[in-house]
Assembly symmetry: C2
Homo-oligomer: 227 residues x 2
């Protein structure tokens, strides 16, 4: 499947690597390709520089945000939440319209120190902002409640017996994404919360996630809805 991934940091790299391993045709988009490829310093969490990482994944092609969006039959938003709307503007509505956009970003605001707060919450969400700005895109919020390594391998904890939340206004798109999450990554419990306004719930959960991360000393955890 042709997949466009917006963003070259840990989430983008992790998703791209896994999807390429599964045989998908992946383009990873960034703002300035030459600048991104010129970076040689390792990122946080021991992440290799994008150009170093790319050499280990020869089937993955780098491109602009517009290249990635144009390429994808589905587009995954793995940009930082603070930069998402600017990245989508560069991607271009014409390259996104009619497609499913899986929004994985969280509007985290690190400017006030740790743990981060949210730059939008309670009566609005990043998921809704994207859907309002791109009414012809099928925005599906998913995967934003777990760290990158768990997104693609939920079996790392609890034998994979924990919950992923999904929401969006287009039922067909949610059905497709749910199928991909199960087939690509092995998710088993995907809970549909309803329309895209429910992104308020999964984004605000980050306020608890960052604190559980602090208490546990690891991001390799998830919640299971026990019912």
């Amino acid at each position: 499947m042709k997949i466009g991934i917006l963003g070259t940091s840990s989430v983008g790299q992790t998703l791209a690597g896994k999807l390429a391993d599964l045989g998908h045709d992946v383009v990873v988009g960034t703002r300035d390709v030459a600048q991104t490829l010129a970076r040689t310093a390792s990122g946080p969490y021991g992440l290799p520089a994008f150009s170093v990482w790319l050499k280990e994944h020869p089937t993955i092609r780098p491109g602009t945000f517009a290249d990635a969006a144009r390429h994808g039959a589905v587009v995954l938003n793995a940009t930082n939440g603070g930069g998402t709307l600017a990245a989508l503007e560069r991607a271009g509505a014409a390259n996104l319209d009619g497609k499913i956009l899986v929004d994985i970003a969280n509007p985290l605001d690190f400017s006030q120190g740790m743990p981060p707060s949210l730059s939008v919450c309670n009566t609005d969400s990043l998921g809704e902002q994207i859907q309002r700005a791109y009414p012809d895109v099928k925005v599906v919020k998913a995967l934003n409640t777990v760290t990158a390594a768990l997104m693609i391998d939920p079996g790392q904890v609890g034998g994979g017996d924990h919950t992923l939340f999904i929401c969006g206004d287009d039922a067909g798109a949610k059905g497709e994404v749910t199928g991909w999450l199960k087939a690509w990554f092995g998710w088993r419990d995907v809970l549909d919360l309803g329309g895209i306004s429910n992104a308020r719930g999964t984004e605000m959960y980050l306020a608890l996630w960052v604190r559980a991360f602090g208490a546990l000393g690891t991001g390799i955890f998830n919640v299971k809805i026990v019912r």
Copy 2:
């Protein structure tokens, strides 16, 4: 143990009933005792009127917020979040100072329709507002992430194998409360998030809780931190 409970709705009744059954000496506080006792109409969720319920729990005594706070060696805040600060003002700092106050309330705002939003969040929380207003009270935020019936009987789902979050600035108070949660109600996994500012995390989680409630059609669920 002498326990003061602020609030006569489902959370107050559920906690008071269980604690009285365990042999504790419970006073339940309300704004206007005569008015509360005069109500005969059943509440939401098939809850009996407080006066009807009280007849079935003859050892529990009703009183004002001040009576309940004065009585308790520990005080449980089971008021609605929107009325908590007014209730505490009536309870009186002199009756609360030096004591542990377990804050179970959430600052839910139903004025904009369902699901509710929060009247304070992100850069502040109800737990912090209480602690700032009553600096000599040991505020411990706990139990606010589950519905009343689960607070006192976590074994109702998943054999009790799920997580309760606790936070507060006084380590000794948190230790006492954690012990009570285990001994009184059977909680097993109590995760300490740190100081009271972490109430932002557990209160903002309510934005996800109310949506999971909607999707599941029941409030009888909780999250387990799978790690």
